[in-house]
């Protein structure tokens, strides 16, 4: 049911682990199925120089964490903030509809880690543009 890319990132997840003295940390929980993702960022001169994750969740959640951390590495904070869950899912060659919410977790985790950094720096937290919490209708396709 998963694409080869999802299975590759699930089986050989990139960037698993923690960063010592991270500049930003974001822990998010999944309201849909109850899973948890924690993102760690190392930021230098407004650029994400390292990103790591720890995830308690399904194959799609682990693959999304792996892909999202890959995608934000080397990006400016502004670019990293723009990373959408759809972009993560596309980079994974698609996710089953019922698993789209797992990629939302990755987007939210990155956002939270970025804002954690900004607040610690005395900057204003950025505001979520499109809240996904209203958007579960399409994610929650019933399998029956």
């Amino acid at each position: 049911m998963y694409s080869d890319t999802v299975m590759d990132h699930f089986k050989n997840p990139r960037n698993v682990g923690e960063i010592e003295n991270p500049d930003g940390v974001g822990e998010v929980g999944n309201p849909v199925c109850g899973d948890i993702m924690k993102i760690f960022l190392k930021i230098e001169n407004n650029v994400v120089v390292d990103a790591k994750f720890k995830t308690f969740g399904c194959g799609a959640a682990i693959a999304s964490s792996s892909m999202a951390t890959e995608l934000v590495r080397g990006k400016t904070l502004e670019e990293a903030w723009e990373l959408s869950n759809k972009a993560v899912a596309e980079a994974l060659d698609g996710l089953p509809p019922v698993k789209m919410h797992c990629s939302v977790l990755a987007e939210e985790g990155i956002h939270k880690a970025i804002n954690d950094y900004r607040v610690k720096k005395g900057l204003e937290a950025w505001v979520e543009k499109n809240s996904h919490s209203h958007d579960h209708s399409e994610d929650l396709t019933c399998n029956h």
Binding site: M7, P13, V16, C33, G34, I36, K54, F56, C58
Partner: protein, 398 residues
């Protein structure tokens, strides 16, 4: 890489069909294919074959042959028993009692009847998944027309005190249905001694074919038909008979009930070694279900800090077929209603794994699972933010 053997440990989901069963079925596809309702010779052959299967099935349950009705499987049998009794007895009352841990074929049927004006009581279970007979007795009112309680649970394997529950139903003159889909072949059943009025079974859980099952209806039970049409099954269940399937069911149930204690001893010893091996080597692990009152092949375990689907994917990678009660695989994205009913916290239900052993397994399979599973759990725990938080390297099992 050498090709790895598939290790099938999901016998509660379905079983392979035994070669002896396939052998007796084949002539009914090719040679004796006649419609049993017709009059010519080959049709009489099919009719006779169905009669034989009915006797085999009745014998396995301690029933009379005319109390056995063939259906398309467990779900149809459950639907028929519950809707049929509810509709035929609604003048007497509109109250049905069942439990929180039933299969969806029972739960969703009861929910449907609630929309149609019936009241349903869903009995709780204890931490092992057991129904308390005194709770059942308390729930009975003068409006109660049906009690439906599963014989053994498909997820955690808990075996319910069916004879006690049946006796209470009998005492209060309420019809008693049991979904015995997981029980047949694993537990000796005697519908007369156990006060069972209706019993559902499904062939593909005991090495028979899919798409065929039966409903035992005790003589005299008032029940409406579910499938209307022709006069098959003594006018109770319409539709041209699935002859080959019915023949397969008959053979399979005969084989499955020939030596239940002997068969169970073999499965149970493999299963017990698996349970011990897993609980001894993997910390923060708990056994779900009851220690003794459980199906011989059932092992249901929760690993804290990890999620079930990711476990299944890794096990599949090693050729091991298993299942989980995790929300992430449930379609509804909610964890198993059975585990939640036993009081297991949501996040621990999430990390549940069910391995159900049967005739496809050998001791080597157990060795291999005991080799692979600890590695899988470790790998996933190492990437779990919960494990990191708990700061636990070791820990005791419950």
């Amino acid at each position: 890489m050498e090709a790895q053997r598939t290790i099938y440990m999901d016998h509660s989901a379905t079983t392979f069909v035994k070669p002896e069963v396939v052998d007796v079925m084949i002539p009914y596809f090719t040679k004796h294919f006649g419609n049993p309702s017709s009059l010519y010779g080959i049709a009489r052959d099919s009719k006779k074959a169905i009669d034989v299967a009915r006797v085999q099935t009745a014998k396995a349950l301690g029933a009379d042959p005319y109390e056995i009705y063939f259906t398309s499987g467990g779900s149809e049998s459950d639907n028929w028993a519950i809707k049929g009794v509810a509709l035929a007895n609604r003048k007497r009352g509109n109250h049905i009692i069942t439990t929180r841990i039933e299969h969806h074929a029972v739960l969703h049927t009861c929910q449907f009847l609630e929309k149609e004006g019936f009241d349903v009581t869903y009995l709780p279970v204890d931490q092992y998944g057991l129904v308390d007979p005194s709770e059942l007795e308390k729930a009975i009112t003068e409006k109660t027309i049906l009690i439906s309680i599963m014989y053994a649970n498909n997820e955690i394997g808990t075996i319910e005190p069916i004879a006690d529950l049946g006796a209470i139903a009998r005492k209060h003159k309420v019809y008693f249905h049991t979904d015995a889909v997981q029980a047949v072949g694993n537990i000796p059943i005697d519908v007369k001694m156990q006060n069972i009025d209706l019993l559902s079974l499904s062939a593909h859980k005991f090495y028979g074919p899919k798409g065929v099952g039966a409903l035992y209806i005790k003589k005299g039970v008032r029940i409406e038909n579910l499938i209307h049409g022709g006069g098959q099954e003594r006018r109770r269940r319409a539709g041209t008979e699935n002859i080959a399937g019915i023949v397969g069911l008959g053979k399979a149930i005969e084989m499955a009930t020939a030596d239940i204690p002997g068969h169970n001893a073999k499965i149970r010893s493999m299963r017990d070694r698996l349970i011990k091996g897993v609980l001894d080597t993997i910390p923060n692990t708990r056994l779900n279900g009851h220690k003794e009152k459980r199906l011989p092949g059932n092992f249901n375990v929760s690993f804290e800090f990890i999620e079930g689907e990711s476990m299944l994917l890794w096990l599949d990678d090693a050729g091991i077929c298993a299942s989980t009660g995790s929300a992430c695989t449930s379609g509804s994205l909610e964890p198993s209603h059975v585990l939640l009913a036993t009081g297991l916290p949501v996040e621990i239900s999430h990390g549940s794994l069910r391995l159900t052993l049967g005739d496809a397994n050998t001791d080597k399979d157990v060795d291999r699972v005991l080799d692979v599973l600890p590695k899988v759990v470790k790998k996933l725990r190492d990437m779990s933010p919960l494990y990191y938080k708990s700061g636990k390297e070791g820990g005791s099992n419950v």
